[in-house]
Symmetry: C2
Subunit: 485 residues, 2 copies
């Protein structure tokens, strides 16, 4: 009875179609493919091994990129004294409503309450103030991989959870130009990760003053269009200027023998990126994982009758061993072929091989691509170059799809009525002239639910002669608008 | 003025001698080599990049070993509902005094208080109860790398801090024998890590019933002798039996169509291992890091006069590039050679090369070993095989020293007066017959401060005819006793 229920739970029919009910599909596909599960703590999730393997692959690539910038990993405390958080005025306003607070420790009421970190600027910069004395101590280039808590009212697996995992880079420099170059390098790393590994197109750009990080001079982000036509902030990189160095009294003696405040940056990417990955690529049949990030790149399904079971399983394991440069698994579970096909399709493995007596005899294998369901024949001797080529094609195809979808749903609008039409019909994003007055931005948001998502990097230096779609006043640059995820 | 102070801070003279004041040396060497720093939160520390690089190297090796057992990584929530912790009676008693408790979330008093995880058995097993239905779902083999909070009254960098980092493996099996085999495999991994990577000798063995993990049937540990003659628990592996599966109602349908409780294990190793590393190998001049774990294996110090500065620095970088299979750094800081030598000596880098015009011309380099201060000449053309051999010798030498020290300070005692003498004189550990009655164990601890550390694995099956050193009753096995760190 229990086995039947399990099979039922996994059967393809049971998965809500992405095209019919996106939000339900999203939650179901995460639960059924065992990426994650709801935890028995409000707003928290458990990242299961299949989901965590995605995070490990993301970490591996991003950690390498971060270290290539000369940044080193470290670890700062989970708890932040409440008074630290209060030092930077905008920062505390931004985070106050989201805090989890420890008031009891070792059975006693604490004299000073401890906040569970919602981000680590304040605890880190208190240490930077201690460590940085001279220009010789700069730049300080530190990153940490850790867990973060922000008390969320409405949560959504991977995308918005009370606790999440991320990396946060925090650097200090002697000049603003050097800090700005770090802000851009970090942003470029995120773009590289999203485009070349997660196969997700997005817009890198400047956030408006009202959408920036609490306490920053300027924020930049990588904005991703979701299948629902919303804009998801995939990663952020902040120019903190001297805001924090002044309130934390970080000062260094320059070569000029005078004391200066360093310029700081912070930047982060979280497990939310896995949410983007699921949303952007998945289809009615389940996940589709980009080969460079997929925990399994090729799944081999032995197809046997009882007599040949041993030979076929052995051959499957042999093939797996020969393909040691790829991530290959053999699924020899005692389940029907149909069940196993559906299961791995739902789990989004890029390539599938069904291996039976015929294939072994003829030395010709048939591989099924997950992204376009194409079936491809390959001679055994050509398997390695074929896999290299095909996995790379799948990776490119997924990125190209994501790019096409985003471009098709990014509308150049010339006036406010067109703008409202795009938003009303949920057609996606709009590029429009805006005078950069926060009043217009606020009004647009009130009336259409669309906010400024970013000013794409390539448009920052524009000097066009346009008119703000809201107030009609002079505007030089076109911003990207859309409903925020 | 500030520069002079900094130099002073780093000068060798300033480091307290390990041989004179161990505890002060330990703290100073950590702060001065920038392994870690005190955080502005009571009992917490900041792990700085040089210290975190050690943790990353430990993680890399241990993670590989854990995955080789078929165990996969995952992530479970930081917060545990208070009621979960209360389910296992011994478990809650063990951890109650050490808890940090969140009572406020999002500005509101929480209805149910949340405990910050002191270990994750309870939150994980609540999920296991949901996931495990049939024998086909077993074994469940999960590990997580995360942060842990235990409210400590007296803290000590790396060895006992309110927050620390670790890995915790948690498995569930259909039979007790399979679970026991996992307990032993995990313990063997720890032994492998300590002996072959951290170069630290220790005793693997069974804990007594009064020293076991709160909630386990049996615990095993790797016990390390500190230079002060105390025994430090370097890692633990627990046979949980069915204790937790019964209280969390984890049940599986067996092939016999009946419901069974699985057998569980948990095992962990923490950043405390870095504390052991510092203690065991360091000397009056500072750290000594084993080559396999050291963030830098060879430090090159260019020695220049102004005219040749460029050539020498270029050559140093060239050598570094040729040695890409090793972890090599060039220290071209504008400091005296003496200062740089002392600094890297204190930081424990296994090999040091001073590179000047003479060395470049003659193509013969001189390398200094950190472990025994030996100076070795090597022709440029032989550098790679020389490094391989010498780093391996240093690794072996450090382990051998640790082994010798431990064996010399482990005393076979035949009666209680000898035992008391060993403990009174702080000579180290004692191996002694004990009847295995907790009353004797308790009395010995009261009178000598020495507790049972473990029953070494090789002695578990002993059937000797001895007498308990305390009560004189029959005893079959010799236990290891010592003051617990």
């Amino acid at each position: 009875m229990i086995f039947k229920e399990m099979k039922k739970e996994f059967s393809k029919k049971e998965l809500t179609k992405k095209s019919q009910n996106f939000s339900r599909w999203y939650q179901e596909v995460i639960l059924k493919t065992e990426l994650a599960d709801y935890a028995p703590v409000k707003g928290c999730m458990v990242i299961r091994p299949y989901g965590y393997a995605l995070w490990e692959n993301i970490q591996k690539e991003l950690d390498r990129m971060i270290k290539d910038l000369g940044v080193k990993n470290a670890y700062f405390p989970l708890f932040i004294p409440e008074k630290f958080l209060k030092k930077e005025k905008e920062h505390v306003q931004g985070f106050s409503p989201e805090l989890a607070v420890v008031t009891i420790g070792g059975g006693e009421e604490l004299k000073e309450k401890l906040v569970v970190r919602p981000t680590s600027e304040t605890i880190m910069y208190a240490m930077y103030a201690k460590w940085i004395k001279s220009w010789r101590d700069l730049p300080v280039l530190i990153n940490q991989w850790n867990n973060i808590v922000r008390w969320e009212k409405r949560t959504y697996l991977f995308l918005r959870t009370t606790e999440f995992l991320w990396q946060e880079g925090h650097t200090a420099h002697s000049s603003h130009s050097e800090a700005l170059s770090m802000v851009q390098s970090a942003l470029l790393n995120y773009k590289n990760l999203y485009q070349n590994y997660l196969a997700i197109f997005g817009y890198s750009g400047l956030k408006s003053q009202s959408e920036k990080f609490a306490g920053a001079l300027n924020s930049f982000s990588y904005e991703i269009l979701t299948p629902e036509g919303k804009s998801l902030q995939g990663a952020t990189s902040h120019d903190l200027g001297q805001n924090f160095s002044k309130v934390f009294n970080i000062r260094f003696l320059g070569p000029d023998k005078k004391l200066h405040w360093p310029y700081q940056t912070s930047w982060g990417l979280s497990t939310r990126s896995i949410g983007a990955l699921i949303m952007v690529h998945g289809d009615d049949n389940g996940l589709i994982l980009p080969p460079k990030i997929s925990p399994i790149q090729l799944i081999i399904l032995p197809v046997w009758n009882e007599s040949a079971k041993e030979t076929i399983t052995k051959k499957a394991e042999e093939i797996k061993e020969k393909l040691s440069n790829f991530r290959v698994e053999v699924d020899g579970r005692d389940e029907t072929l149909g069940y196993r096909i559906n299961d791995w399709e739902m789990r989004g493995v890029p390539l599938r091989m069904e291996l039976g007596q015929k294939e072994i005899k003829n030395k010709v294998f048939t591989l099924a691509r997950r992204d376009n369901f194409e079936k491809l024949e390959v001679k055994e001797e050509n398997l390695i170059p074929f896999l290299e080529k095909t996995l790379s094609e799948i990776q490119d195809n997924l990125y190209e799809r994501s790019r096409q979808f985003t471009l098709e749903h990014t509308h150049e609008v010339k006036d406010y009525s067109e703008f409202k039409e795009v938003m009303r019909q949920k057609k996606g994003l709009a590029r429009a002239f805006w005078c950069e007055d926060p009043v217009c931005e606020e009004k647009i948001k009130e009336e259409t639910k669309a906010s400024t998502r970013c000013l794409p990097l390539e448009n920052i230096d524009d000097q066009l002669s346009g008119k703000c779609i809201y107030c009609g006043k002079k505007a030089k640059r076109k911003w990207l608008f859309g409903p925020a995820y």
